[in-house]
């Protein structure tokens, strides 16, 4: 699963620790999601979506090209 978590976070100048604190998870979880090693649970994906005020499909996509086209749109 590809995601835009890192770009969304850096746009806001947040550190991984800050984002982790906002979401109530560990910094390690944020890092694992960003590098694509771990797919978050549905509740966490919804929390991320709510925090960044974007629909889930604009943040996560199984296809990298799909995510890039979402980003361009």
């Amino acid at each position: 699963m590809y995601n835009r978590l890192r770009s969304l976070r850096t746009e806001r100048n947040w550190s991984q620790a800050t984002l982790a604190e906002e979401l109530g998870v560990s910094r390690q979880t944020i890092n694992a999601i960003e590098v694509g090693k771990y797919d978050p649970s549905l509740p966490l994906a919804f929390s991320i979506s709510k925090l960044f005020k974007q629909p889930i499909e604009k943040i996560f996509d199984p296809d990298k090209a799909g995510l890039e086209s979402q980003q361009d749109a």
């Binding site: 109530g24 998870v25 390690q28 979880t29 694992a32 590098v35």
Partner: protein
């Protein structure tokens, strides 16, 4: 506490860090009392009554360590919980298979006395190895 343990604890969120530190403290206390008990009790067949104290003393920190472990698993953030569940599941399977071989080894080379200790050691070792593998897989 080693530098690596501290580093791993630092990456956790506050709630998990407190639970993990509590577990480590009680586990160390349990291990020390267990070692003391093993030394004091020795291989004697006839056990004086006061030996029971050393036999049951490790049960106290063991209960607290178990409580801390279950609390950690219940409250842990989803990735950390998954890593620990994977490590526990894999080491459980390793211990089951090893149990059969310890049984055969005991049949071939003698009594059962050390089989329990070997399974405990292997379980702990396997848990640590699988924990490390899972952490590497998730880049944690």
């Amino acid at each position: 506490m080693t530098a690596k343990t501290r580093e791993n604890l630092d990456g956790l969120c506050e709630r998990d860090r407190i639970n993990a530190a509590r577990f480590i403290r009680w586990f160390v206390a349990f291990f020390l009392l267990f070692s003391l008990g093993a030394i004091v009790l020795g291989p004697e067949k006839r056990t004086p009554l006061w030996h029971l104290v050393f036999g049951f003393l490790p049960a106290v920190p063991a209960c607290f360590a178990l409580n801390a472990y279950f609390r950690f698993m219940k409250d842990a953030d989803e990735l950390i919980r998954r890593i620990h569940f994977e490590a526990a599941a894999h080491s459980f399977v390793v211990v089951i298979f090893a149990g059969y071989f310890f049984y055969l080894a005991a049949q071939m080379f003698g009594g059962w006395e050390d089989s329990g200790a070997m399974i405990c050691l292997l379980g702990t070792f396997s848990y640590v190895v699988n924990l490390r593998r899972a952490r590497q897989r998730f880049d944690v």
